[in-house]
């Protein structure tokens, strides 16, 4: 995989050079003078459908014939289809790189397009089932198929011996199909189909071990919470259709490719603001932002590969992707962007603080995901679309690696998820440890790991963008501090120090996956390193966590050495008409940028040092001081800021009360039931009356026919008289 990546990187670099030569200069170039929107260059392809249909085929085969295929067959179908899909996606992206050469001279966006079939044509509403691969979709496509394949491979080891093995792979393949619809959909309806599809698969996989009620409940919580978001998303879609008469993001962005403040008269600003806010509600649901983030930590009830694929690397980033896809709308909707950046920053900090004190390894990672998604939305709110997508990509690498690493640990510890029983696992599981360390360094933002580049750009944009500010920057920096802290806390508690082990007689009752325990033999003893199907994905992702960041080296670092910001240039055609300018005082202040970079590195270092003090220095007592001195703070964090309780008393209870006392007792039982039963009994009585004629006597039937005929003839005669 590595040489392929490098090859693409070169190709991208080549095309990027051209882009810079012909485009508006790349970088953070502000809109100068009137923009003349160049229409996208479109080339037809017939392979996009194959990419999305392969996983669907796998899902169908495993779903319907899984039991007959046997384990090897399920593996072959489940992983094989995804592997082919991944290979094909590389080919398509290389085609796209080719396209960026000569055709790109026009300077507009470019992409591969395939129209599968006309889907819904009703009046002025035209929606084809069409797929579109442009540079933005290409980034997502590669992440989804390749990380998806690694996680499929990993699942072979992780799910070994599970009675629902084939079902698991069927769901996983179905998820990939839906996710690819979401990524490649050429109109919002296809995107929405994928959006709902991934939601369904998420529900099915969270509750995969549904015999345990807690798991089933977690699935339900995810589904219902997402429904709130989907409602907003659907309304936003309708709003966009009402304004633009189309649901194609390309067309919408094209129509909005004007400088800010000079919208055409047909597009009132408030409609864009409203649409953007509604869409963001959808993004909040899918991407777990305040106030809808509460489902994601519970979603950890699903098997760990699911947490890695769906609840870390791909599905939860759909909201970010959707905002990037509709960058034109968010570019003009400045107020909506303020909401986005505030929500993003708050979520980043809130979730990171909760992560500080959790003991369940997957819970920490879940809150970490929520927090990192907040980072991405800060970038989106700041108008730094490419930066958000960059962080989305690096996050997919290191967070998938972290989750898979935690899965490896959980398997070795016989589904014990409490870190207090871990410790010293480095000795037993070196591969898991090293890859986990790489990914931790990446998420903590240590140079030169992937997270350093992407997070630092977010921090820079948080303060330098016209839509950012010092306060936002401070909040995000604090969140970054917490990130490094809770991640190194995991390392200390899990891999370093002494191995504590699960005490004798300790039940597995608090492990969310306890339902599965019956199926695993408990060969208690030293934890074992996982099989190669699990460690190979870990190693690949670990390496990606190290080098992934070089795709987006910021100008201040790479510029001196002639090293381009590959990802930024690659994405430039997509975002060129929605560039949000930086604050003029900041735009060319390199000293400032270096200073802030050093500051964030220092903050991360300080954080790591603190964890060493608390866990590494043998000063266990220090840890208790925090809990003793400020018990309220500890309780606040431990209880997740009491948000669940707040929702329960502010939203749930009144809602249940109104539903039961008003909607059910009065509206439903009296009014609706009365109407329904009334109509039903009317229909029944009418039918009984009519049924009397149906007495089985042929003579009567013939008489009725003749009577009918005579009446109709009389009517005609009557008409005849009339005329």
């Amino acid at each position: 995989m590595q040489p392929l990546l490098a090859q693409t990187a070169q190709a991208i670099a080549a095309s990027a050079g051209q882009a810079v030569a012909h485009g508006a200069g790349g970088g953070h170039g502000a809109a100068e003078g009137p923009i003349v929107a160049v229409a996208p260059t479109v080339e037809a392809t017939s392979l996009l459908a194959v990419v999305i249909l392969l996983p669907l085929l796998g899902a169908a085969l495993n779903g319907f014939l899984g039991k007959r295929l046997g384990t090897q067959g399920v593996n072959l179908v489940g992983c094989g289809t995804v592997a082919l899909s991944a290979l094909l996606s590389w080919k398509l992206v290389l085609d796209l790189v080719q396209l960026s050469g000569p055709g790109h001279a026009a300077g507009g966006n470019f992409g591969l397009h395939q129209n599968l079939f006309p889907w819904i044509h009703v009046g002025s509403f035209q929606a084809d089932f069409a797929l579109w691969l442009d540079p933005l979709a290409a980034v997502m496509l590669l992440v989804v198929t390749n990380v998806g394949f690694l996680i499929h491979l990993y699942s072979i080891g992780y799910m070994k011996g599970d009675p629902g093995y084939a079902r698991f792979f069927a769901y996983l393949n179905l998820f990939l199909f839906s996710m690819l619809c979401l990524v490649l959909g050429d109109n919002l309806l296809v995107l929405f189909l994928g959006w709902e599809g991934v939601g369904l698969c998420s529900y099915l996989l969270i509750g995969f071990w549904f015999e345990d009620r807690a798991n089933a409940r977690a699935g339900k919580k995810a589904f219902v919470t997402n429904r709130v978001g989907d409602f907003g998303f659907a309304l936003g879609m309708m709003m966009l259709f009402a304004v633009f008469g189309t649901l194609e993001p390309q067309a919408i962005n094209q129509a909005l490719a004007v400088p800010q403040g000079s919208l055409p008269a047909t597009v009132p600003l408030w409609t864009l603001e409203a649409a953007a806010l509604l869409l963001f509600v959808g993004a909040c649901g899918k991407s777990a932002q305040i106030p809808l983030y509460i489902w994601l930590p519970d979603a950890m009830a699903g098997p760990t590969p699911v947490s890695a694929l769906i609840h870390a690397a791909t599905m939860v980033t759909a909201g970010v992707y959707m905002v990037a896809r509709l960058n034109g709308v968010f570019f003009h909707a400045e107020f909506a962007c303020y909401v986005v950046i505030v929500v993003g920053a708050s979520t980043a900090l809130l979730a990171a603080t909760i992560g500080l004190v959790q003991n369940d390894i997957k819970k920490v990672l879940a809150y970490s995901t929520v927090s990192q998604l907040g980072f991405m939305f800060v970038a989106m709110g700041a108008g730094a679309w490419a930066v958000g997508v960059f962080h989305l990509m690096t996050h997919a690498f290191f967070k998938a690696c972290l989750f898979l690493g935690s899965g490896s640990v959980i398997l070795a510890m016989h589904h014990e998820q409490d870190m207090r029983f871990y410790g010293g696992l480095k000795r037993f599981m070196p591969t898991t440890h090293w890859t986990f360390l790489f990914a931790t360094l990446a998420i903590a933002g240590i140079f030169p790991f992937a997270g350093f580049f992407s997070k630092d750009e977010i921090l820079w944009n948080a303060i330098a963008s016209q839509r950012g500010g010092t306060l936002i920057y401070a909040v995000v920096l604090l969140a970054a501090f917490c990130t490094a802290f809770y991640m190194f806390r995991i390392l200390w508690m899990t891999f370093w120090g002494e191995h504590r082990g699960v005490p004798e007689g300790h039940g597995h009752d608090h492990g969310a996956e306890s339902a599965d325990d019956d199926h695993h033999h408990h060969a208690h003893g030293d934890p074992q390193e996982s099989p190669w199907t699990m460690t190979v994905p870990l190693m690949v992702l670990g390496v990606l966590s190290l080098v992934g960041g070089f795709l987006g080296v910021p100008a201040v670092l790479g510029g001196h050495f002639g090293f381009p910001n590959l990802l930024h240039d690659w994405l430039h055609p997509v975002f060129q008409y929605s560039t949000v300018a930086l604050d003029p005082t900041m735009a060319h202040n390199h000293a400032m940028e270096y200073g802030l970079m050093a500051l964030s590195l220092g903050v991360a270092g300080l954080s790591i040092f603190l964890t060493w003090l608390l866990w590494g220095g043998g000063k266990d007592a220090l840890r208790d001081i925090f809990a003793e001195k400020s018990p309220w703070l500890h309780d606040l964090l431990w209880n997740k800021w009491y948000v669940d309780e707040l929702y329960e008393s502010v939203l749930l209870k009144p809602l249940v009360f109104v539903s039961r006392e008003v909607l059910w007792r009065i509206v439903d039982e009296v009014i609706i039931d009365g109407l329904v039963n009334g109509v039903a009994s009317f229909c029944k009585q009418a039918a009984d009356k009519m049924g009397r004629a149906q007495d089985g006597d042929v003579g009567n039937y013939a008489t009725i026919m003749v009577a009918g005929m005579v009446v109709l003839l009389l009517v005609i005669v009557g008409f005849g008289v009339g005329t």
């Binding site: 079939f117 006309p118 889907w119 819904i120 044509h121 009703v122 039903a680 229909c683 029944k684 009418a686 039918a687 009984d688 009519m690 049924g691 004629a693 149906q694 089985g696 042929v698 009567n700 039937y701 013939a702 009725i704 026919m705 009577a707 009918g708 005929m709 109709l712 003839l713 009517v715 005609i716 005669v717 008409f719 005849g720």
Partner: protein, 499 residues
Amino acid sequence: MPTDLHFSLMIPELVVLGSAVLVLLLDAVLHGGGPRPGEEDPRDTTLALSVVGCVVAAAWIPAVLWNIEGPRSSFNGLFVADRFSLFFKLVVLVGAALSLLLSDSWLRRRRLSSGAAHALVLFATSGMMYMVSAGDMVTLFLGLEVMSIPVYCLAALLRWEDRSVEAGVKYLVLGAFATAIMLFGFALLYGYQGLVGGVATTQLEPLQTTLMANAEALPLYARAGGLLVLIGLLFKISAAPFHMWTPDVYEGAPLPFVAFMSVAVKATAAAVLLRVFGGPLLAVLGLDGMLWVVAAFTMVVGNFMALVQDNVKRMLAYSSIAHGGYILVGVLAGSAEAQAGVLYYALAYTVGNVAAFAVLVYLSRQGHEAERFSDLQGLGARHPLVGGVMVLAMLSLTGIPPLVGFFGKFVIFKAAVAQGYVGLTILALLTSAVSFAYYLRPVIALFMRPTVGCEVAVIPVNRRVALCMGLTSLAICALGVFSESYLGWLSSAVLALAG
């Protein structure tokens, strides 16, 4: 006198007829005139021959005839093979082939000879094919009889069972009655054509031209003639008040052949309705208001009566009446879009209904027809896939997107509104809502009621029935999802009708 003898246009009909004759001969040779009790008969040959006959005939249509160059009518206009008729032939052949697949296991379980039954299905099919191709009242009438008589026999196939014989006799008596009415109508129209049109001919096209040309001053007897022909067709499509035979016949007739007659006869009747009365002719004859009333009455009676049935077959009988009503809405609207909708609906109804009957056939055993709702109880838990087929069929018949049944209704209703039939469309929508109640009853029985009796649990799914279920389910989903492409294809078929 005939100068244009294009037998090649008739190849599908000839194939079906040929296989019918062969099946009869083979049956006589192989079985010596009847099944021997307690001995397994080699029925595979006749089944294979009949199904292959249908499939070859059906394949011939898109492969050759659809895009044929040159004349599309033959025998001086007696026989028309335009795309419109070709489409309906496809529908009829699909219905016939699927019913044949269904009938096999059903007949086996009762140790019945299959050859005669298969031959009857094939003969009826050829009659339907001639009917939809009829460019002349004589062809139409001949086709009608070739279709009807085998269907009466199929209804009475279980000649030692009272219910079956009753069904056959009722169908025969009332059918003959309707045929007589229709024939009288033909006679009146023929007389009109001879008197006013100048040339005494039974062909439809000159007749239609004459009627249109004299739209202002049509004598009463011409309009009455039109009305009587219409009544004959309404009987076949089982529109109220000419529907009384339907529930009794469906209840008594053998299951797989009920599937056949419900879908194929209805499709044929719809085709002839469009062929004879399509376009503005209905209004010229002053029959549009009358058809409005009949359509409304049919939808109300069909849907309301279906509500109170305890027998699934009777419920499906009334539901088929209701669907006839929706088709009439399309016929009444008359625009090209509405006609395409009728075509769409014919196939939508065919696959949905056959899927439902396939599940019932699967559930039937020796001496026990699965026809009460209680027979379905608990099936969903034991055979989720079979239960799923039933759910798909019911949801499609109700008209839930994205299944094919939804788009069928949608296209027809849209066209009806465009033609100004708003009131009728509202009525259609309301009665559709009523249909929810009875279509969901099988679903409730399948998935939400405990199992009664455990012997049902051991039925293995017959391969041919499974094939039938698979094909229809696939069609229900695929035709719905790809409805746009499919409708585009249908428009070309309707174009033939106008031109």
